[in-house]
């Protein structure tokens, strides 16, 4: 009897062995971290009134949006199982959220384009 049934391949799984966190687990942690940073950046945007800095924060939000998409698609990934909830539900939701974050950041960047008035 083989101790590891059918080796890898029956389920096409490559993401976990017993005792280790699955890919989606690492993705969840990374996304939570990015989420906290996005919230903090959003709060900073509420507080910050200087256009130049708001634009920089908007740019950062765009970057975090891109990161939100890249984590489950390229950088870490999700489970390979075809019907895994993380693949059919969480992955598209994260792509959608990432796109919305990028749009929100882009709006901040584009709406703070006016030339700052000279102060004496």
């Amino acid at each position: 009897m083989s101790p590891m049934p059918e080796k890898m391949g029956d389920g096409q799984s490559a993401s976990m062995t017993s005792g280790m966190l699955m890919k989606c687990g690492y993705t969840a942690r990374a996304e939570a971290a990015v989420g906290i940073i996005v919230i903090l950046t959003g709060l900073a945007l509420f507080v910050q009134k200087v256009n130049k800095y708001r634009k920089v924060l908007g740019g950062a939000v765009v970057g975090f949006g891109i990161l939100t998409i890249l984590i489950p698609t390229v950088l870490i990934g999700v489970c390979n199982a075809l019907s895994a909830p993380c693949r059919i539900g969480t992955l598209p939701a994260l792509i959608l959220l990432g796109a919305l974050i990028i749009v929100a950041g882009a709006i901040v960047v584009l709406t703070h384009n006016e030339i700052p008035t000279e102060t004496h």
Partner: protein, 395 residues
């Protein structure tokens, strides 16, 4: 005039934004129902054409399992006697009959899926044979597998089933159905794998001698499919015949509650929105009585005033419709697998033609709803007396 209409829309961003959202919701509801129905039907057509069969004969007591394999790729292992193959071949109108053996794999770990293995008889097969002839120019070899589009692994990679090593020889194109989660192999390799499984796998698989799971049938004249299906069911006891039409109607049944819900949402939204739009159009007109009067005094005809009020709502409806369709398309494509899995239907992006038709009909219907709501206020505005309008209204 278009520029004036656009300016009017931009001048009242909140009111028109709310209207656009309402129209977007109506269009999204209309479009989504259509998308799901056509996407499922297209998916089944693609699968049937990939299988190359006009009919599929399954054991009567396993007909639900057979349909589940085809529609949702839910793996199953079932058999009936091979002598049924001879009986099916002798039914009038049957040109080709190819047996297949269905074997469900074992789960490997917590985040793995079961996969459907389909063992074919290369001498009779017409399912992957045309694909092999076109793409690979050689038949499927010993311990080689052809995998569905959702099976992970590149050509040349090794995959283990019941402890037996197989090499991926090719990947089939995406259909959105059970075929995408299927692995095709030779029947003789499947029998070797089954014989070895008592030693190599923790749960062996047993293939009965001469046992087959389904028979794929090609008929002489596709128009006679229904008659031949009836003849097979009558002349070969213990069998059930699955036709493309029966698969489509089964999926339509599964989708009916969702499509009904979407249609209801569109109807309710329309019923709520229609008087709302009429009211907003009347309000807008009241606000612009003097403006309309001045336009009339400057030489604008009644038809032009009608066009201005009517065109504004119609344009708002068209913009809302397009936005609704764009948003629902993105969501439906992103969550395609989730919808297919939870509803238990095959689903793929509808073909360009049917997608365009669904989108166009949703936009036209939404725009028509906007037009109906705006017609009375527009007539009223066009019929306004010039001097009274200039005196009474605000500019």
């Amino acid at each position: 005039m278009i520029r004036l209409i656009l300016k009017n829309i931009i001048y009242r961003p909140i009111r028109n934004g709310a209207l656009i959202l309402s129209f977007a919701f109506i269009a999204a509801s209309l479009f989504s129902g259509n998308y799901l129905t056509t996407g499922a039907a297209d998916s089944i057509s693609e699968e049937i054409s990939q299988l190359g069969a006009d009919l599929i004969v399954v054991p009567e007591q396993y007909s639900a399992e057979g349909e589940a394999v085809l529609l949702r790729g839910e793996p199953s292992t079932f058999f009936f006697d091979r002598k049924v193959l001879d009986d099916v071949e002798h039914v009038n109108g049957v040109v080709l009959a190819a047996p297949q053996i269905y074997i469900a794999t074992l789960p490997a770990d917590c985040c793995s899926d079961l996969v459907q293995l389909i063992a074919i008889d290369p001498s009779r097969d017409f399912t992957i044979a045309p694909w092999l002839k076109e793409s690979r120019k050689q038949p499927i070899g010993k311990d080689e597998i052809i995998v569905g589009s959702q099976i992970v692994g590149d050509v040349g990679a090794t995959r283990y089933f019941y402890g037996h090593a197989f090499t991926i020889a090719g990947t089939l194109k995406h259909t959105g159905t059970g075929v995408d989660r299927t692995v095709f192999l030779r029947a003789e390799d499947a029998r070797v794998m089954a014989a070895e499984s008592a030693i190599t796998a923790y749960e062996p698989v047993t293939l009965p001698d001469g046992g087959i799971s389904v028979i794929l049938v090609k008929v002489a004249h596709p128009a006679d499919v229904a008659d031949i299906a009836r003849n097979i069911a009558e002349q070969v006891p213990g069998t059930k015949v699955i036709t493309p039409d029966s698969l489509v109607s089964q999926v339509a049944g599964r989708l009916s509650s969702i499509t009904r819900l979407l249609a209801m949402a569109a109807i309710i939204a329309t019923l709520v929105t229609l008087p709302l739009i009429a009211l907003i159009s009347v309000m807008t007109m009241q606000e612009r009585v003097r403006e309309i009067g001045i336009l009339r005094a400057l030489g604008a005809t009644r038809a032009k005033i009608f066009g201005l009020i009517f065109g504004e709502t119609v344009l708002v409806a068209a913009i809302g419709g397009c936005i609704g369709i764009a948003i629902s398309t993105v969501l439906l494509i992103l969550f395609q697998e989730y919808i297919a899995f939870t509803v238990g239907i095959p689903l793929s992006v509808p073909t360009g033609g049917s997608l365009l038709l669904s989108a166009a009909s949703a936009v036209i219907l939404t725009t028509a709803i906007g037009g109906i709501a705006a017609i009375l206020p527009a007539i009223k505005a066009a019929g306004m007396d010039i001097s009274e309008a200039i005196r009474s209204g605000d500019l």
